[in-house]
Symmetry: C2
């Protein structure tokens, strides 16, 4: 693992756990046992390091999410999606780390300006997540010829996913009610 990767890994864990503004450069240096000069050799600023962390998380999360969504039938995509989320909330997906909400929603909350590179990267991530769901749905026999319907279903699933993540985060996993199979069947039926 290169120094650069090591720094990003450490920073990502700290940022995701404690928040962007709450973690200072010095804390990242102490945790990663790296000299300040080294960090600033690889990243021009804290913002740039944050962007690298967002990019890393994007790759990490999407890879897991694609696996979860890769099911042959639309209803199975939906069921697998929420089963996957439930595992994530319960810290049973090692590659995603300890659940602390959506890193991108959290980051966007700290950077409200839509023009900021961090905010843009958060938008991009959400767009990608929608695409992953949509692609999975379009690969099913029942939806491959109905792009409009598939997009509508993808949006609904995405909205529920985001809602559950927020609730799990704010309520610290208490009182979380997952959508019923009945509801998912209705959503995914053509």
């Amino acid at each position: 693992m290169t120094k650069q990767e090591h720094i990003v890994n450490t920073a990502l864990t700290l940022f995701y756990t404690k928040g962007l503004h709450a973690v200072g450069i010095n804390e990242i240096l102490a945790e990663s046992n790296v000299a300040k000069k080294t960090l600033y050799n690889h990243f021009a600023s804290k913002d740039e390091l944050i962007c690298a962390c967002l990019a890393k998380r994007d790759t990490q999360f999407n890879s897991w999410f694609e696996e979860v969504c890769n099911k042959p039938l639309a209803i199975e995509v939906a069921i697998s999606l929420f089963a996957g989320l439930k595992l994530w909330f319960a810290n049973q997906v090692p590659k995603l780390g300890n659940f602390n909400g959506c890193f991108f929603i959290n980051a966007a909350a700290e950077y409200p300006n839509a023009q900021h590179p961090i905010a843009k990267q958060c938008m991009q991530h959400k767009q990608t997540i929608l695409d992953i769901i949509l692609t999975a749905l379009l690969a099913t026999p029942e939806l491959k010829n109905n792009k409009v319907k598939a997009l509508e279903i993808a949006h609904t699933l995405l909205t529920i996913k985001e809602g559950l993540i927020c609730q799990a985060r704010v309520m610290h996993n208490q009182f979380l009610v997952m959508p019923s199979i009945t509801l998912l069947k209705h959503i995914t039926q053509s």
Copy 2:
């Protein structure tokens, strides 16, 4: 308006617009034209001021939300809820200010520790919101004798509400797709 109310109003606007860590005491003082001593006469610390802002937002938001949910039929509760959200997102609800996501979700993102007073207040708000939806549903003739079903519907509506708010916030109101009437009918039917 007392000095205390004036400080809370100014601070709430700044905190909601820019984030909790991003706004310093000095910015609040400059914006409100109040002396530092006066602020610290009314609030022991920044955290205490933040808590006062959360409390104010809670009152403000709940009053609007109760109005929105106060409909005679379950399907109307659902339709009114999402129509209300759409207005909020479009900055057409003056008493809620310019839309910048859910203040409590944003705040919780900056204070990950569940034991922190700020995090607790965010949890409490979400609990209250669920109660408001549930109460509205239980007041309808079709659900007043079915608490279990009403609670399930309330949870589903709440999840979708949270999801939409997050999407609207992160995507800055682009590509937002509201749930269809068909879906809402299915969710609210007994």
